[in-house]
């Protein structure tokens, strides 16, 4: 198969906001002063500027938030004679035991599998792209799109806590209140989303040329 033409080799830049194909001869990569897209006026970049540094920073910040998000309880259920604090994991267990196992699987996926997957995938993508690896490029590209697609579903647990807090308001009999864990978790989701947005998937393909 003959090599497919890449925009950077042809001196073209695809605007990442509106998709217009622009002539990008003047842009020399990482320099700060770049041209603007003639159609939407946004700055044109051959690659997103300082993509690695930003993505690493956001990913590490997200991971730091993720630790208290899991250790600190996210929700308190108080009734007449007992107080029950739930973390994300214990909430899943409770749902499995008392509610419905199918829904527990969904919550487990959204709150635990998806964030972990994001850390693993983004970390792998960052390391392999920085080493300009030509390893499994199509698969890595697919993983990135998967992370982009499913990332925001992690907000599920945050919305559950918010809704239960608003719903369960039976003064002395039964009350639900949010605990700090839910704040850390919400921030984790936002930071991982920002991390995947600041990663430029085109970097995956900037490695050694693979002749397939």
């Amino acid at each position: 198969m003959s090599a497919l033409p890449r925009a950077s080799e042809l001196g073209l830049i695809g605007c990442h906001v509106c998709g217009l194909v622009c002539n990008g001869v003047a842009d020399d990569g990482d320099s700060g002063n770049s041209m603007a897209c003639p159609r939407c006026g946004c700055a044109l970049h051959r690659r997103k500027p300082t993509s690695y540094a930003r993505t690493w920073a956001l990913l590490i910040a997200a991971f730091i938030m993720y630790i208290p998000a899991n250790l600190v309880p996210i929700m308190r259920t108080a009734s007449l004679n007992d107080i029950d604090d739930n973390t994300i994991l214990s909430g899943v267990v409770e749902l499995w035991v008392k509610g419905s196992p199918d829904l527990a699987v969904i919550v487990f996926t959204a709150s635990i599998v998806v964030p972990m997957l994001k850390f693993l995938v983004m970390g792998t993508l960052l390391v392999s792209s920085q080493r300009r690896s030509g390893w499994a490029q199509p698969q890595r590209a697919k993983l990135f799109r998967l992370v982009e697609l499913i990332g925001y579903w992690s907000m599920l647990d945050v919305f559950v806590v918010a809704l239960l807090t608003a719903l369960v308001r039976f003064n002395l009999l039964s009350l639900v209140a949010p605990l700090p864990g839910v704040i850390f978790f919400g921030l984790t989701v936002v930071l991982t989303m920002l991390a995947s947005m600041s990663f430029d998937p085109r970097l995956i393909w900037d490695g050694r040329d693979t002749n397939d």
Partner: protein, 205 residues
């Protein structure tokens, strides 16, 4: 390749591969050969159909926000919640971050998206670019990933099942409105908004 105009070309935003744009037939999807990402998707929606969808979504959105979502019962006491009820409760209970997140991703961004899309489509019916077209298109690009109504629907379902163990649960019209909204969002997800750039001529009004 030197003489081809930029409009005839297309760059895969995931891997930077350059393609000649081809008009897609009904139901066709163009994939990138290099990374298998979707390049372009044909959709059969006319401007009028899209406007109708946006207006429907707007009506359903209002209903989803005005009507309560669920009502709980315990020993003859009842308690029901709306989205704004949840947002206000989170604010009052020291979870302002969550409150702001929920207000933005479940109320302000979706509303802004629908209103601005309606505005753009209303003008493109007459073949014109709406005032502020460029700025609105850029804004739509950036708020795109931050609308989460469909996640909220699943969250409501989980909340209902969790509450079901201890309380009598009555689903209210709000949850059905949200279900319909999710359906409309799914239809919209197949439409690439970037098409709007090509739809109307670039004449500075």
């Amino acid at each position: 390749m030197g003489t081809t105009s930029p409009e005839a070309l297309q760059i895969c935003e995931y891997c930077d591969t350059v393609y000649r744009r081809r008009t897609l037939a009904r139901g066709e999807v163009a994939y990138c050969v290099c990374c298998q990402a979707v390049l372009e998707r044909h959709h059969g929606f006319s401007v009028n159909a899209m406007l109708a969808l946006v207006l429907t979504a707007l009506i359903v959105f209002v209903q989803a926000n005005v009507w309560p979502i669920v009502t709980l019962g315990l020993n003859g006491q009842y308690s029901s919640a709306t989205l704004w009820g949840a947002i206000i409760q989170m604010w009052q209970q020291q979870a302002q971050v969550v409150s702001v997140l929920a207000a933005a991703t479940l109320f302000f961004f979706p509303l802004l998206k629908m209103l601005s899309l309606g505005w753009l489509l209303w003008f493109s019916r007459k073949g014109r670019r709406a005032p502020g077209f460029v700025r609105i298109m850029v804004m739509l690009h950036y708020i795109g990933p931050w609308t989460m109504s469909e996640v909220f629907v699943l969250g409501a379902l989980v909340a209902i099942v969790k509450a079901h163990v201890y309380f009598d649960v009555v689903a209210n019209p709000g949850i059905y409105a949200y279900a319909v909204l999710t359906l409309l969002i799914t239809i919209f997800a197949s439409i690439d908004l970037r098409k709007l750039w090509d739809l109307t001529p670039e004449t500075s009004a």
